[in-house]
Each structure stands twice: as structure tokens, then as C-alpha cells.
Symmetry: C2
Subunit: 709 residues, 2 copies
């Protein structure tokens, strides 16, 4: 049983701050519990001022309550709540649901109070839900531990678990019930003094009545916990659809000020969600679109759909948007074409999109038979049904036909309610659970995500996932960053099995010539310094040095250039390196330490592709080999690795090996590594390997290995 089971399904509840003052949060909480819930357990009322309410005895304190309730709902002002929570903890209450505001969100004083209740929770083991939240609505159990005056309208139970932080956006999702959405449970974690969104995702991943989890996250307090919850959901086969605020600077700033939590880098958040199979959406209504589709039918990896419509224009427009999103239209089997041709008038379009023309509007049987024919085509994974206009009765008959056909076919039919007139037919779809999308664009976006999830699901095996080790998430305390020189960085990499060109550090011109001869001409000469990062910009790099004279000259020129352009730089000498042949592809591999998710690896093609087109892909570390392989195909310029215009294809196997070795390297030295920048990594033609040509490592002094360099 999940450890939060009795939070959402308590055997007994105490309300601390019970009241009958109209519109007070105390009174509203009682109304929701007594009048709008169907709760069988005991409810104890605690009030400092009343001895009786609703004909039931009130206790002066939780201490006096004869039983130890599973849940105490706290609705008294923040100031007094601390003492009361201490009493609850001492009493052995399992969960305190703190609806009161005036904590972390309300200035310094509130932050002090929040720190105190955190401590109570940590010391006693009593879990705290909130504070500053509207509470929890267990719709399937018909239990509202909430002061929201809207709870009486939350009447549609169902398979969706909704986990939000804020109350406003969560309630917005609850109002999607009007579109036909059935909700199992809505948790709203508020300030997250103790329990976080991640805890509720974890609960929902276990809950047998929840099929799909929707979450709206402003800030992630504990990255490791969040990842673990998502891993559990994936293992239990439950899709998670997420909207993460903080994808732009404005959003990051606003979310940080709203929830006082770190939002992390948007690209890293998105990469992490994707890696964990979470479906990330762009807007709040899209949570519903995708979540409900997943509930209706779990996608099986197929990606061809049909469009069925009685308006030729809408059929064409929908097909257009389908094509723009990279969704494919099924080429119907001959039997389907034959059937449609036999049933529909000659001027109807029986290809895909199907334009039935208005013929079906006056002939329900025709609608049934043709729509069923489309659903029965073996290549159709889903049918989009744009409802262009609300025609009243005609549109209602159409809705009935769709419901009938849907009962006979497992292929989901997704109506698109295009009109701004929400007539009776709209409600008919909603009541039958055939939740309409609100625009063609939104519908197609949802279908694309549904399909992508289907592909992910059929290709990924979360059962094989290892628990996520949260590599070096927090930098070790007290350690200060330390940049390694290129030579030191490369030899550390080489010790860890990473391929680097043969090289040697020369501390004089004579030594440089000697080392070059030992390595074999041509060579590259680079200034060696831990403080200079853009070595070539100041004339610190010479390539293609073909003889001793050239190496000697390079020494003089580089030293002169450094002296002139970076007079204070600490120079160790020149790094003399083997020069790799022309014809390779240059890529970039980076590692950074995200404040939420820990070490993240970035891969892309070098130079301008990264700077201008931001053509990179990312993964949380450690990397699985399949993921490393997938990364290569995810960048838009991946064609360059396959060889352009008849050129040779790159040594992809060697590149994957480098990625895996970087992952292992970071795994071994997690605390010591803040940042790695391997740019470029040279990838030769097939069979010629891949080599790290330049390397920057920013480490931590506290680590012995980093420090010794």
C-alpha cells in the first residue's frame, strides 16, 4: 500500500478550526465534508470558540479528540497553526492537511512559520500537505478535504489523477469536467513544506483507480524524488502528461517568485521529461487533450490516422494541419475504398481525408456504416472527426452516430468541436466520454503526442531502468570550482579510457621540436594554460606544422601572441599534438550540473550549428547505450554523420563509445566534475575512430583527483 493511502482515504478526520461563519474557510470545509462528500469515517470537530456545531460536539483541542485521526485538516491562521501542528504530531496524527495561508508565500514572518512546521514534520514523521493550498479532492471516493466552494460541482469521477502545486490552475483543470473529463483525484501541494508534487505522482502511480496522471509543475524541489516518481509511473505503465512552467525567462522568474523554488534550465527539464517518457505539453488545456486520449485508448506505436468529415473544406484544412505536424494519413485498404465507394455518392471524396459531403447529415445509417468502415480499416489507429458547425438537431444525430460506432470499434474517434456555439451535441459527446478537442490544431497536436508516446512505450523498457543515482546533483559543500588546463583535462580523460590524440607538453621550443618528431609530423601546437579558454582567438593555436622549423617558429609566435593579448595568463608551455587527417566531422559533447536533475550530457554538431541553430540534444546521466545511439539521430544535422553528397559516413560506433565513456567518467567522479566541454570531438570516417581534440573541465578542489591536477 502506498504510504499516502490514508491521506487520500482516511479512516477518520479532524477539522481544526471548524466554524459556521458564512463563507469562512472553516465553514466551507465542513460543508464540503458533510454536505457534498459521501464519507463513512468519523469526523471530529475542533474549535477554540464553539462547543457544538452541526449538532455535533466540538473539542477545544486536538488533544481532547478521543481517537487519533488519520488526517487533521487545519484551517486556523498560520500564527496559531504551528502550535496545533505540534499537538497533532504528538497525538500521532498521520497527515496534516494545512489549508491556511500566511506561510512561505507571505514574507519573512511567514517563512519562519513554514520553517517551523517543516521541522515538526521532519522530527515527528507526521506528513504535512500544504500549507497555502485548497486541499485535496478525491472524486472517486467522493471526499472533499477542501474549502473550495466549487467542490459541489466536481461531480464527474474518472480515471485521471491531477497533481498541481497552485490551486487556481488545478481548479481550472477540474472545470474540464464540463468537456467530459472524469477525475479520480486532484492534489494541490501548495507551498510544499513537506509533501511535494512528486509524492502525489508516486501515489497516483500506485493507485488502482488512476489510469493517467496529469501534472502541472512550477518548481521541482527535489529532483531525485521527482525522477523516482516518474520512473515508477513508467514502470507501472501509467502515462504522465506534464506542463512545466519555466520555459522562458519570464516564466522562470514568475514561477520562482510564486513558489520560491528553483525552476532549472528549460532545455534540461524538457530533456529529462522526454527521457522518462513524460509527455510535455505547451498549455494547460493540452494536458486534458492528451490525457483523455491516453485514457480512451493506449496507443500501440502505429502512426497512421483517418479524417472523416462532412465538409470538404474542413477535411482539407485538417489534412493540412495533420501533414504539418508529421502525422500520417492511412492509405486505405482496397476493401475500405470499395465499401465507401458503394455507400457514398459519386462526388464524395473516399480517399483519406474522407469528405462524405452533407449526404450523411440527413442519413444516420449512412453515417454509421461509412464511419464504421473507416474505423475498421486495418491501418487506422485513430479517426479525427472535425465538427465544423453546430447545426442543432443534425449535429446531435451525428453525435449519436459517433457514440454508436465507438461502441463497436476500439479505434478512438476524436471529434473536433470547431464551433464557438456549444450546443446540446457538445454535451452529448462529453457525457459519452468522447471528449471533443477545441480546435483542429490542438487536436492534431494531441494526436501527435499520443502517437509519440505509443512509440516510446513500445520501444522502451522501464522495467530495466536502474534507480536514478542523481549524479552529483548538489555540488559538494565548501568546494570551489577549479578549471583544468587542456593537457590536464585530456590526460584525465585518457586515464578514463577516452580517446585523445597523442600529445605531450613541451616547456621549451627545443622540447616542442623533440616531442613533435616523436609524435610524427604534421602536428598541432596549442598554448597550455588553465586560465585561457578561447586559445585560438588570441593566436594560441597553430595547425599542420610539417617540420621542426615550423614548430620552432610556432613556439615563438604563440608566446608572443599570448604575451600581447593575454599578458597575465599563466602559461605551462605548448601542447604538441598529433594532427588528425582532414575529412572528419566535428561534434560537441558537454556535461553540466543542473540544480534540479544533476549531471546532464549535451551532444551536437560543433561550431555554428550549436551557436545559431541550437541543434543539440540532451540526456540525464548516466546514459544507456540505446539513448546514446538515439541522441545521434535526434539532432537536425544528423545527416552530416551519414555523409553528405556521397562523402563517407562517420564512425558512429566510435562516437557512441565516446558518449558512453563520458557518462562513465562522470559517474566515477561525480562530485569532482561541474562541467565538461569537449569541443570539438573529431569523428573520422567509419573505422577511423573519434578523438577529443579540445577539452575544458571545471572540477572541484575538494575532490582529490581534481585537486591533484
Amino acid at each position: 500500500m502506498n504510504e499516502l493511502h490514508y491521506l487520500f482515504n482516511p479512516r477518520s478526520i479532524a477539522v481544526i478550526g471548524a466554524s459556521d461563519k458564512p463563507a469562512s474557510i472553516g465553514a466551507r470545509t465542513l460543508e464540503n465534508l458533510f454536505d457534498h462528500s459521501r464519507y463513512d469515517g468519523s469526523i471530529y470537530l475542533v474549535s477554540a470558540t464553539r462547543s457544538e456545531l452541526r449538532g455535533q460536539r466540538c473539542y477545544a483541542s486536538i488533544v481532547d479528540v478521543p481517537q487519533t485521526p488519520d488526517v487533521a485538516i487545519v484551517v486556523i491562521p498560520a500564527q496559531s497553526a504551528v502550535q496545533v501542528l505540534q499537538e497533532c504530531a504528538e497525538k500521532g496524527v498521520k497527515f496534516a492537511v494545512v489549508l491556511s495561508s500566511g506561510f512561505g508565500e507571505a514574507g519573512e514572518q511567514g517563512q519562519r512559520l513554514e520553517a517551523q512546521i517543516k521541522q515538526i514534520s521532519a522530527q515527528s514523521g507526521m506528513r504535512i500537505y500544504g500549507p497555502n493550498c485548497p486541499g485535496a479532492c478525491n472524486i472517486n471516493a467522493r471526499l472533499g478535504m477542501t474549502f473550495s466552494p466549487s467542490f459541489p460541482h466536481d461531480l464527474r469521477p474518472g480515471p485521471l489523477g491531477i497533481a498541481t502545486q497552485g490551486g487556481g490552475l488545478g481548479r481550472n483543470l477540474m472545470q474540464a469536467m464540463e468537456r467530459g473529463i472524469g477525475v479520480a483525484l486532484w492534489s494541490s501541494s501548495g507551498n510544499e513544506a513537506d509533501l511535494q508534487v512528486a509524492d502525489f505522482i508516486d501515489y497516483m502511480a500506485d493507485a488502482p483507480d488512476i489510469k493517467v496522471i496529469l501534472t502541472l509543475v512550477e518548481g521541482i524541489k527535489d529532483g531525485a524524488k521527482f525522477v523516482a516518481a516518474l520512473q515508477k509511473a513508467a514502470r507501472n505503465g501509467k502515462p504522465v502528461v506534464a506542463l512545466k512552467v519555466g520555459r522562458s525567462e519570464y516564466g522562470q522568474r514568475a514561477a520562482a517568485s510564486h513558489t520560491a523554488s528553483i525552476t532549472g534550465a528549460a532545455e534540461v527539464n524538457s530533456a529529462a521529461l522526454k527521457q522518462l517518457g513524460v509527455i510535455e505539453v505547451d498549455d494547460i488545456d493540452e494536458l486534458i487533450d492528451v490525457g483523455w486520449l491516453l485514457n480512451r485508448h493506449m496507443p500501440d506505436g502505429r502512426s497512421d490516422i483517418a479524417i472523416y468529415c462532412s465538409s470538404g473544406g474542413a477535411a482539407a484544412l485538417t489534412a493540412d494541419i495533420v501533414g504539418q505536424r508529421g502525422v500520417r494519413l492511412t492509405e486505405f485498404a482496397p476493401a475500405t475504398v470499395e465499401r465507401l465507394a458503394a455507400l457514398l455518392p459519386g462526388y464524395a471524396a473516399i480517399g483519406n481525408p474522407v469528405d462524405t459531403t452533407t449526404a450523411v447529415l440527413s442519413n444516420e445509417q449512412l453515417m454509421d456504416s461509412t464511419l464504421l468502415a473507416v474505423c475498421s480499416d486495418p491501418g487506422v489507429a485513430l479517426v479525427l472527426l472535425p465538427v465544423t458547425i453546430d447545426y442543432g438537431t443534425t449535429t446531435e444525430k451525428m453525435a449519436q452516430a459517433v457514440s454508436r460506432v465507438q461502441k463497436e470499434s476500439p479505434v478512438p474517434i476524436l471529434p473536433i468541436w470547431m464551433s464557438d456555439r456549444n450546443g446540446k451535441a457538445f454535451s452529448m459527446y462529453a457525457e459519452d466520454g468522447i471528449v471533443p478537442a477545441k480546435s483542429i490544431g490542438k487536436a492534431v497536436k494531441a494526436v501527435r503526442r499520443w502517437m509519440d508516446y505509443g512509440k516510446w512505450r513500445t520501444q522502451t523498457h522501464p522495467q530495466h531502468w536502474k534507480p536514478w543515482p542523481t549524479l552529483g546533483r548538489a555540488a559538494p559543500q565548501g568546494a570551489t570550482p577549479l578549471s583544468l588546463s587542456e593537457g590536464n583535462a585530456k590526460s584525465w580523460l585518457a586515464e578514463n579510457g577516452l580517446p585523445v590524440p597523442r600529445s605531450a607538453l613541451a616547456t621549451s621550443a627545443q622540447e616542442a621540436v623533440r616531442e613533435a618528431a616523436a609524435i610524427g609530423f604534421p602536428v598541432v601546437a596549442k598554448v597550455s594554460s588553465a586560465t585561457l579558454t578561447h586559445k585560438s582567438d588570441i593566436g594560441g593555436v597553430f595547425v599542420n606544422l610539417r617540420d621542426a622549423g615550423a614548430v620552432h617558429e610556432a613556439w615563438n609566435t604563440i608566446m608572443e601572441n599570448v604575451h600581447r593579448h593575454a599578458p597575465g595568463a599563466k602559461v605551462d608551455g605548448l601542447l604538441i599534438e598529433e594532427m588528425l587527417p582532414a575529412g572528419g566531422v566535428e561534434v560537441l559533447i558537454g556535461v553540466s550540473r543542473d540544480p534540479v536533475f544533476g549531471h546532464v550530457i549535451t551532444f551536437g554538431l560543433g561550431g555554428i550549428y550549436v551557436e545559431v541553430f541550437k541543434d543539440v540534444t540532451r540526456r540525464l546521466l548516466p546514459l544507456q547505450r540505446e539513448e546514446a545511439t538515439a541522441m545521434l539521430g535526434e539532432i537536425r544535422s544528423s545527416a552530416l554523420l551519414e555523409g553528405v553528397r556521397g562523402g563517407p559516413s562517420a564512425d558512429v560506433a566510435a562516437l557512441i563509445d565516446v558518449l558512453m565513456k563520458v557518462s562513465d567518467f562522470v559517474g566515477r567522479h561525480a562530485d569532482a566534475i561541474d562541467e565538461i566541454d569537449l569541443n570539438p570531438v573529431w569523428v573520422g570516417p567509419k573505422g577511423e575512430g573519434a578523438y577529443v581534440l579540445d577539452a575544458v573541465i571545471v572540477g572541484r578542489q575538494s575532490d582529490d583527483e581534481a585537486a591533484r591536477r
Copy 2:
């Protein structure tokens, strides 16, 4: 007066095919005219079977009608319509509105009939509207020349002109009246036997009661007419918002089969619309979003907005989406901050986004004063107001406050109705013309487009536009394409003032050496042949030839390579060319002939940027110098022209000159040029010019100049 004035405002109307058979199109047309219009002119009924209808005399034929009506509405079957239209033309009827179907959309027989009515129109000058369309709804004049049973519900007059082809999508737009949209006129051009969407845009550009034009186009029959209408709208200061079907292959195919017209290349359509100041949208509801915003307030080029919200979560989410779309949040003036700080509780967020907290929900006056403070900030061009939840009465009071403030401030307040519950407050916004957006994403998209239009409008002077000459839209009949050799292409370009490297054609190794010496070493040698396009792929190009020996050797090797890899190629010799110094940027300039819009110029950085990232920009020709300049900044890799990592900036002036000269060149030889591909064009550092290094021209034999090469 626009030539279509009496089509939409007829002084008299004849209905041919008048009927009272329930639900027939004849009866419905009469109901709309007599019962649901407020029409003062004369209506004549023509019926082959009835002598009287609605107590009014029926004529057996249009010939018998005592007056010549401005408009004849034809609702009889296609077969009989041809004869009747001939009679109408002879009678002198100005406009025939043909509602009947069974023409071009209905197979070969229908296409024959459509050809016949086209001919009647062309010969007589009588304009035909339709066929196969639901008719025209002049809402401001309350005149429905339509059989649509929905016309009685089209009750909200207003400032929008809607021009569609299909009926279904047009009617969908009409149902946006539920969201508060007021429509002046909806024209639906159907099969466009004569009058096209472009004619109606032209009419709307002149109509004094129309402020904004919305159009939904599946296919453009006459590109020149379409461009001219859009130019007129721009000159008259009327924004046009367009949804063009055919942006994906599926859409192109479906639209072509639906309307039997050419859709053209999506990129070219989008470029043409953008160039003409048309706001292109992605979905049908977005037409309304942007159109209504433009009607409410014409943007002035400012691009900073405010977010005002009572939910912190929704404020953060909206800010996030605003940031993702590149819209900016105003930094409030000190006076605004002071005012908000004085009014709102301490825990509210008074930056931008403004999170009032729920304090305003119970205090209307507070809402008025704080919202007005935000609207009054000098840097705020628009206020986004996310309405997260439908709270019933509370939400209604909020809507009233918004209406009050909107009356006091010219700054548009755009509510975002986020809930799926469309309660009374929703209608209150609609009734007050404060049309809510349907999702945060859609709202922000609309705002971004509104702003971009504002910028375009303040920076562009359509008054200075020349009439569009439709350069070589159709290829000359009977002419066959002709590829020019690189040498011929370049000398034709050179004659037209385009800079090419010095070069000469050598027909022997000896001549090659001689010419190289005359040009000056180093040189480039390329095989010259009109039939070989990828010369370097077969070893037909050698660069950096430093002496006579190298040139001689190049001759032999190239001839051998061509012999081996392209044995059938017709070879003229070797092109010996001046070699330009290293350090330039390589760009691509192309011209193609679009079937709808004629010659289009494409510009981008060469090589992989074009192939992988499709990083190009386009314009219809001829090009204005400002446009050429703008093109350089529009590609994502434009930073490369400004110099990367301290490198020199490119000779941008020379590049603009090349673009203008290409435009002039095409202008002079429009019929003779199908395609130009200048790739690469070498752009040197500032002051060093730009040169066409390689050129492919596909011309037309019928043109003397092309033929002589």
C-alpha cells in the same frame, strides 16, 4: 464605387427556382429573404411550376420579369441553370448568384456545364457568384442571399469582412458570433466560375463598413488579381488575416481535389502573404482571435504588454508562454508600481505579471483601480487577463469591472477564458465586444501577430508600392526549357551587370594555359557543359591551380573524369576562372517561377544551412531595396554575415546589390527565365565585393536571348 457594390447591395433581386417545398433550397432562400432579412428592394420570383408563392406573383421565366434585377439568385438544378443564366445575361442582369451544385465539383458532366457558364459570363459581362456555394450574407445590411437554415442566427453585425471559398468553414467563422464577433459581410465563392475570393477582398478593401478582412483560401485561381486585392487593402489601411490551406502535402492534395485549383508551394504562399502585410494564421479560430484584436485597437508598433491575473499560477504560466513567443513584458513606470503597492496587499505581486491574489475577487473597486493603473502605464500596449476559473457571480463581477475599465482606457484588455465552463460571464464579455481568447497559447499567438502587424504597418508604405507586374507568371506557351552552360549563364549575368569572376572558355589544354596566364594565377578550372549540373561530384572542378603545369594537368584529369563518369555529356571545354581569396562567406540566391505568384527569389547561406536547416527567405519579384536589406536579416544564420568570433563582417552592400541586379535581370527577361540558381555567391569582407561563383539558368527557347546561348 466598387464594381461589386450592387452584388452585395442590390436594388432588386430575382429568385429563379422559387419554391415552398419544405427544406428545399428554393424555399429556404425565400425564407431568408422574406422572413429573416430586412430588405427594401423588389424581389421577383421565377418558377417553372408555380404561378404564385407567398401571395406574390411568380414569373415563368426571367425573361418575363418586368424589371432587370441587379441580382438573380439561381437555385435550380445545374442542368437547367445554363439556359437560365444565358437568359439572365441577355436580360442584362448584373450578377447571378448560383447556389446550385452539380458543376465543377461533380465530375466531367458538371465540368462541362461550368465551362459553359464561364463562357456566358465572359461573353456577356454578367458576373457569376458561385456556383456550388451557400450564397452571400450581408449582415450589416441584414440581407441573406442564401439557403442556409443558419442565417436566422447570424444576428451580430460588425466590422469584419469574411471571404471564404467553402461554405462549411465560412459558416464555422459565422458561429464565432457566439464569442462576440460582429460580421459585416460573408462571401463564399464556391467553385469560382467567375468571381473569386480576390474580388471579394477587393470589395471589402473599399467597403466603408468593413475594418478588418478575414480570408480562408484553399486555392488561388488568379495570383495577379489576388496580389492586387491585397495591395489595395494594404493601401486602404485594412489589415487582412489569412488562413491558407496547402501548407503540407496532404493539405495541398486535399485542397486541390476539393476546389480544383492550384495551391502552389507553401513557402512561396507564406512569403507572398508576409510581403504584402497579410497576417497568416495556423488555424481557423486564430482568424477570429487576430481579426477581432485588430478591430478593437490598431497596434502602433509598441511591443510590451502587461499580464493582470488573480491567480499566481496562471500569471506565471501566461508570463512563461509570453516569453516563449518573444513578446515582452513592460517594466512598469515607478508611478504604476507605487499605485499598485498602495492598493494591493503586501503578498500580491506588483511587478509584471501582476498577481493581485484573490483580494480583488471580493472587492470590485480594487479591481477597477488596479486594472486601470496597469492600463495607464505608458509602456503597456495591451493587457492580457487570464480568467482561470468560472466562479459564477464573482467572475461576472470581474467581467463588469473589465468592461468599466475598458471604457476608460484605449489599451485593449484581452481576457483569456481558460475554463471549459462557459458561464454567464463569458457571454458578458462577448456582448461587450471584449471577445475572449480560448487558451493562453492562442491569446499570446494572437498578440504576437497583432504586434508584428503593428511593426509592419509603421515601417511599410504601401502607398509607394507599384502595381505588381506578375513577372512571367505563366511560362510562355510552346516554349521548352533550356539549360544554359555555366559559361553562357555567367556571361548573360555579366551583361546584366552582375559581378562574376574573370573567366574564359578554353577548348584545348593549350588555350586553358594561355587564358590562365592572362587572368593571373591561381585559377579555377571547371568543365563547361550545359548537361552536367553537379560538376564537382564527377571530378570536373579543380581549384587553386598555381601554374601552367597545374592547369595542363587539370585539363587532362577533368577530361578523363568526365569521360569515365559522364560519358555521354556534351562538353564545350574548360572554364578558366579567377580564384577569389579565402575568407568570404558563401550564400545562395535562387529564382523560381511559382505557378500562382510568378517569379520568386530565394536567399540563404549556402551548403548545409539550406539543406538541413532550410534557413532561407523569399520574396516575390521585383524586389525593393528595403526588402533586399531585410532579407539578409531574416535568415537565422545572418550572424555569419556580421562576422563570427571577431572575423570580418561581410560586404553586405555588395550582396544587396547582387540581389537587386538579379531582380532587375529577371524583370528584363521574365519570359525567358524559369529558374536561376546562383550557388555559391561569394561575399568578401567589407569592401571586397560579392561574386557569382557558380550559376545555373534554365531558360525558354522561345526567347531570342535565351535561345542564342
